[in-house]
């Protein structure tokens, strides 16, 4: 499965963490300012053609302490941020979202789309001097594919693996049972050093806290819950990264991180919508810092349990969508920096069909649909019921997720006006997932934050992917959607594939297995001295070299900031 598949799983974890840090939750001004046209936001490229300055330290922020630095067991954003500087991937994305060589210098796909031949770079070495070999790759892929390893992101990516074996001193071959259009994206994947992990318990290996680097930096120290220090890896085989040191400080709270940025104790931090709005008028901020904002492939939705007696009927699901004022959410909660979506893709993705309009906010039509579906308020108590069952549900939200809680409370109020009683329950991430996977819920706030460009709707919407097999937490089932998704996965021609996905988009909008809410932006603030930023739909960190290409300029980035209003593209 693609990393978009992380969305339900690891990615929603990203949602938890950033929500824990209360991304996007802050809105100071009493009246919402007119929303600038979102299209004005562009992407940055400060690396192409620029000359980096070498030396110095960049002080970065983590929202949480990493639970592990095992590249295969990673599941949280904070882990990805650190591992991204320690472990190179086989392949990487460039800023146009094309796959480019990483540890692998070249690769070929067989004509049936089932077999991949990778050739590793001769110069690639681990920091202890051992070369990165096909043995490492074979070991890593076998480990990731084995169910016992429980690799949260990479495990599902290698389902359907038929064989993996070395093919000479620098090459290895991976063969799958089925061809799959988006298979290549699975190889945006770091490797484990086989000589250290062989025969060890993956979850308990000491290397998980003292990882062996094959990337530009190496871990110097790690103070639990506080900080990590990375220094340049002297044995790194690629181009020298500009910064000599990278420090990560664990700062769970956005407000603290922002204050530290202004005091010069941090060089970068994620910010929320409210803070972003404030940066435009805060002279303290303008003097030292700049804000970066760009649309990502992330989108949020409210999963409806299609198996529950409440949401088995598509009319009820459509009605629920029409009772949520998504326009007001975009204006009020996201301050205009979001786009209402009509299907399970971000508008930045070619799979999104801009010709499919979102269902309107229309309580009158919703009431009619509910009535048609048999839910009516016969006893006049303001609560709809059907066959003796009151329409009273619980909406789950991961705890600490401010924006999620706000959306869900708004939905609860909207449903309430439509004669549906909805209580909001916040649950810690694991408890939340357990409920979702067992189907023991009615509605739940989820987000998809894609770490790659794979738009494959299979993992979230194909009926074969009901938990525990997959991530179709809505338990949706639509034979036509299934057929189109299957066809798209086999279709190796991009144009034809997108046509199929556009039909899936339209069908899911009408069938409303979930309430699709909005596509959002990544918002980040930097000290002006930090240069070399590159943004794309994968954000600041999803492309190579990303932060490994940043440097400190003696001439700080000049005003006006490329913040809200559009990055210099």
């Amino acid at each position: 499965m693609n990393r978009a598949g992380r969305l339900g799983l690891a990615l929603a974890l990203a949602g938890t963490l950033s929500c824990r840090a209360r991304e996007m939750a802050r809105v100071p001004a009493p009246t919402p300012p007119p929303a600038p046209p979102p299209a004005a936001l562009g992407y940055l490229d400060e690396q192409t053609g620029a000359t980096p300055v070498f030396g110095g330290t960049v002080r970065r922020r983590l929202v949480a302490d990493p639970a592990t630095l095992n590249p295969i067991l990673q599941s949280a954003v904070a882990e990805a941020q650190v591992i991204g500087l320690l472990s190179r991937n086989l392949l990487d994305y460039d800023r146009t979202l094309r796959l480019v060589p990483g540890l692998a210098e070249s690769w070929q796909v067989s004509s049936d789309g089932r077999e991949f031949l990778f050739r590793l770079r001769a110069e690639a070495v681990w920091e202890d001097g051992t070369p990165v070999t096909p043995t490492d790759a074979v070991f890593t892929i076998r480990t990731a594919a084995s169910p016992e390893a429980g690799a949260p992101i990479f495990g599902p990516l290698f389902e359907g693996l038929e064989s993996v074996q070395a093919a000479g001193p620098r090459a290895f071959k991976v063969r799958f049972r089925e061809p799959y259009a988006y298979r290549e994206m699975a190889f945006v994947m770091p490797l484990l050093p086989e000589h250290l992990y062989r025969g060890k318990n993956l979850a308990r290996a000491p290397q998980n806290r003292r990882p062996l680097s094959n990337g530009p930096y190496t871990l110097e120290s790690w103070k639990a819950q506080q900080s990590l220090v990375l220094v340049r890896n002297e044995r790194y085989w690629g181009p020298r990264p500009p910064f000599d040191r990278v420090t990560f400080q664990v700062v769970p709270e956005n407000a603290t991180a922002y204050a530290m940025l202004l005091r010069g104790e941090l060089d970068e931090t994620g910010i929320d919508a409210g803070t972003l709005a404030r940066t435009n008028t805060d002279p303290d901020f303008g003097a030292c810092c700049r804000a970066i904002e760009g649309y990502t492939l992330d989108w949020s939705y409210i999963a409806l349990n299609n198996r529950s007696p409440f949401f088995a009927d598509a009319r009820v699901r459509r009605a629920a969508t029409m009772l949520l004022d998504r326009g007001a959410i975009v204006r009020g909660l996201f301050r205009g920096r979001a786009r209402v979506i009509s299907g399970p893709f971000a508008p930045e993705s070619p799979a999104y069909d801009a010709n499919v309009p979102p269902l309107p906010h229309d309580p009158a039509s919703a009431a009619r649909l509910l009535g048609e579906a048999g839910w009516s308020d016969d006893d006049g108590d303001g609560l709809r019921s059907k066959e003796g069952r009151d329409f009273a549900i619980e909406i789950l939200v991961p705890s600490g997720n401010e924006i999620g809680r706000q959306i869900v409370e708004t939905l609860a109020a909207g449903l309430g006006a439509g004669g549906i009683r909805a209580a909001v329950r916040s649950l810690e991430w694991n408890a939340f997932l357990e409920k979702l996977d067992s189907g023991d819920y009615e509605a739940a706030a989820l987000g998809s934050s894609a770490a790659d460009a794979n738009p494959d709707p299979y993992f979230l919407w194909h009926s074969s992917q009901w938990p525990p097999a997959g991530l179709n937490n809505c338990f949706s089932k639509n034979a036509e959607v299934d057929g189109l998704i299957d066809a798209a996965r086999r279709e190796l021609d991009e144009g034809k594939r997108l046509a199929l996905l556009h039909r899936v988009h339209a069908l899911l909008n009408a069938d409303a297995p979930a309430i699709f809410v909005a596509n959002t932006t990544q918002k980040h603030a930097f000290r002006r001295t930090v240069r070399g930023l590159v943004t794309s739909p994968l954000g600041l960190f999803g492309t190579w070299p990303g932060p490994a290409g940043w440097w400190a300029s003696p001439q700080p980035a000049s005003a006006p900031t490329p913040a809200a209003g559009g990055g210099a593209s």
């Binding site: 209360r22 939750a25 407000a255 959410i329 401010e402 809680r405 409370e409 109020a413 909001v424 329950r425």
Partner: protein, 276 residues
């Protein structure tokens, strides 16, 4: 009427103030249904408005009127406080009373039990219970009652010990009354004044405990409104909306302080009467 007057007279000034505030709170609770609609109404274009004539306490992060929400939360907080205190008192009297009444091995055993529970940080137990039970008001009441009874049990044990050897208690025993009957029909009424004091303190404590749980996100779930629940959204907006922290907290503080003052007043009143 005259009993009420006697009570009023016997209370110190602080206790009288406490009593007045408590009565006012219950009145607010009685009229709170009139504010329910406004408290639930989300207006995303009126988020985080500072206090003004239209919104005396300002609005919250979803544009709901904070004054209405604080008022609507009153009956919930009060009801949970009172019922949890009663549950605690019931368990406490049962265990402490039995310890005092039966003495010997039972006392030794039950006193150990009281000591064991007292050894745990209350919030540790409370969080564990609240987090593992479904987030309903009943669970919250149970969690608080199940963790706070040892205080009441100590009170009850001491009181019952005082009566055990008194003539009327011996007489009842000789007359063949069962221990349960003696405890409930004879000893409870006699032990009531100090237990009422204990319960009044317990109400203050339980309201605080519920607020802490809801503040930490393991208490009541929205749309149920409690002061702690309203406060739980405040830290995220501490930079721009101080009113979200100030007003619900003020209501909570006033309630806890007035119950404490009332309890303290009752304690003074009952001990002085007892001494006279």
């Amino acid at each position: 009427m005259s009993a009420a007057r006697r009570l009023w007279k016997s209370l110190p000034v602080s206790g009288r103030v406490g009593l007045l505030v408590v009565v006012a709170l219950w009145l607010a609770a009685a009229i709170s249904p009139f504010f329910a609609e406004r408290a639930a109404e989300i207006r995303l274009d009126e988020r985080l408005l500072p206090p003004s004539g239209a919104h005396p306490f300002g609005t919250d992060d979803l544009g709901r009127d904070l004054l209405a929400r604080v008022i609507v939360a009153t009956p919930i907080s009060l009801a949970i406080g009172v019922t949890a205190a009663l549950v605690s008192l019931f368990i406490g009297f049962l265990i402490g009373g039995s310890a005092g009444y039966f003495g010997k091995a039972a006392d030794l055993l039950l006193s150990r039990l009281i000591e064991v529970v007292l050894c745990f940080p209350v919030l540790f137990l409370l969080l564990a219970l609240a987090a593992f039970l479904p987030p309903t008001p009943v669970s919250v009441v149970l969690a608080i009652g199940l963790t706070t009874w040892p205080g009441d049990a100590r009170y009850a044990r001491a009181e019952i010990l005082k009566f055990r050897d008194l003539d009327w208690a011996r007489a009842a025993k000789v007359a063949g009354a069962t221990p349960a009957r003696i405890l409930w029909r004879h000893m409870l009424p006699n032990a009531l004044p100090p237990l009422i004091v204990s319960a009044a303190f317990g109400v203050a404590w339980s309201i605080l405990a519920e607020a802490a749980l809801s503040f930490l996100g393991v208490g009541l779930s929205p749309p149920a409104v409690s002061w702690g629940g309203i406060l739980s959204a405040a830290p995220a907006f501490i930079e721009e909306a101080w009113w979200m922290a100030l007003f619900p907290g003020l209501a909570l503080f006033a309630t806890v302080a007035s119950y404490n003052a009332l309890a303290e007043g009752l304690r003074v009143a009952t001990t002085e009467k007892g001494g006279a």
